[in-house]
């Protein structure tokens, strides 16, 4: 047992740069595969609703705006989202309609402003063998 065993370590750091990141003023870079905020690329979405079904937080909501036009509305409730990226995994299209970016500073004073909304026309599923069969019937519709 030594008296003051920690002393050299402490003194060594006295004149070193602090290890703290001065966060809001300086920011660290996130790794390239960081799971940030999910978003939709509406031109690719075939409205199979796989993401809505698998989302553990019920943060994705797809409703039909107009049946005739095949127009749909998708809301991502970022106030509920748990950033697990399961929606990206579940998305059956290639390239994936659901994607995730590296934004992490989402805080807001109003939960309504956290909800992201897209209104779009369903994309036509290209007859590609690689894409697994989605849940919704992929009936081809004329693109607007």
């Amino acid at each position: 047992m030594r008296i003051a065993a920690f002393l050299p370590e402490l003194l060594r750091h006295l004149f070193k740069k602090p290890n703290t990141v001065d966060y809001p003023f300086k920011k660290l870079e996130v790794p390239k595969d960081f799971r940030g905020t999910p978003y939709l690329q509406p031109e690719l979405c075939i409205v199979c609703k796989a993401c809505e079904r698998d989302c553990p937080a019920e943060a994705i909501e797809i409703t039909s705006v107009s049946e005739a036009e095949k127009r749909f509305r998708m809301v991502i409730h970022n106030d509920r989202c748990i950033h697990c990226a399961q929606c990206v995994d579940s998305c059956p299209t290639t390239p994936k309609a659901m994607a995730i970016d590296s934004l992490f500073e989402l805080a807001d004073f109003d939960r309504h402003r956290l909800k992201k909304e897209w209104v779009y026309v369903r994309a036509v599923l290209k007859p590609k063998p690689a894409a697994p069969k989605p849940d919704a019937q992929p009936e081809p519709a004329p693109k607007a």
Binding site: A4, F6, L7, L10, L11, H13, L14, F15, K16, P18, N19, T20, D22
Partner: protein, 323 residues
């Protein structure tokens, strides 16, 4: 003229105003040093280098809601922060910083002022205990009993070790003790054991790690000050800050030859020497973990007290030898 000078002395330097500013600066220094020792930043963004952070904390606390528990002894509860602040400010006036005349004793510098100062420094501990007791909170009560238990441990070693240099200097007056060591700087060396003991005892008096037992927040929440909030808490914190300054200035006077050189040079010496002592206190704080109350008392009596007695013995022998 003398009256004006004394008024200036009480109100501005080294009185209330200076004490307030300097104690907040010392708190900043303590926090910054502690943080840097831990590889952290410490206060950074309020004022340059975060210098204004303690003042900002003080102002913020002053503006917070002040809650008095129903079960508390209202009178005691309310008056104690002021008493504590008054006591430590009075103690600060006794420090031989600027307004003293070596030849003639005055109100603030007289033979025996070292004893008065030591007793005035004991009072904040009692104030803390009474504050804890009168707030009747269970955690405060436990904290209060711990305050007193610790007092029995460190008080004797502190007195013994602080009085040793006075014995060597053959004076009970702080200004004369400082002047003695200014003349014979080499005699500071024999007092080093006493200095060590005194630093540790002051650490205990100030209730800082490893002796932060009375307000160990992981055990008994806020301990002594659990029920205090708002202005009263701000005043208590100011009291503790001033106590840090006064204790370190006392150690600097007695062990490090005081602050000679009149107004400006004396001020520089005051800053340097107190900051040195405060740095030592921060270092101890960073270096150790909190110990148990029984360990404090046994450490004080088994290690500190014998060392203090040894110091006394060295001083007495040395005094005989010098004659």
């Amino acid at each position: 003229m003398a009256a004006l000078r004394t008024l200036l002395y009480i109100l501005v330097y080294p009185g209330i105003l200076f004490l307030f500013l300097y104690s907040t600066f010392c708190e900043w220094f303590d926090r910054k040093a502690y943080a840097r020792l831990q590889n952290r930043m410490g206060p950074t963004h309020t004022g340059r280098f975060g210098l204004l952070q303690p003042i900002a904390d003080f102002v913020k606390l002053m503006s917070k809601e002040d809650v008095v528990p129903n079960a508390a002894d209202r009178g005691m509860f309310n008056v104690l922060p002021l008493v504590g602040l008054a006591v430590v400010s009075t103690a600060a006036l006794l420090l031989p910083i600027w307004n003293f005349d070596l030849a003639a004793p005055s109100v603030t510098s007289f033979s025996g002022d070292i004893i008065v100062l030591l007793y005035l420094l004991s009072l904040p501990t009692l104030v803390m205990f009474l504050a804890a007791w009168s707030s009747t909170n269970l955690f405060s009560t436990v904290g209060g009993t711990r305050v007193l238990t610790m007092l029995f441990g460190y008080e004797v070693p502190l007195f013994l070790s602080v009085l040793s240099p006075a014995i060597l200097a053959n004076s009970w007056r702080l200004a004369e003790i400082a002047a003695f060591y200014q003349k014979k700087p080499l005699l500071i060396l024999p007092n080093l054991i006493g200095f060590g003991v005194a630093v540790i005892a002051v650490q205990a008096k100030l209730e800082r790690t490893p002796f932060d037992i009375p307000h160990a927040e992981t055990e008994i929440v806020g301990g002594t000050l659990t029920e205090y909030s708002g202005k009263k808490l701000a005043l208590f914190r100011l009291m503790l800050d001033i106590e840090v300054v006064v204790s370190s200035a006392l150690l600097a006077t007695v062990f490090l030859a005081g602050f000679p050189g009149g107004g400006l040079l004396g001020f520089v010496q005051l800053v340097l020497k107190t900051l040195f002592v405060i740095f030592l206190l921060s270092l101890i704080r960073a270096l150790t973990s909190r110990i148990r109350i029984d360990q404090v008392v046994s450490f004080a009596w088994k290690v500190l007290a014998p060392l203090a007695v040894l110091q006394l013995l060295i001083v007495i022998l040395l005094k005989g030898f010098l004659k």
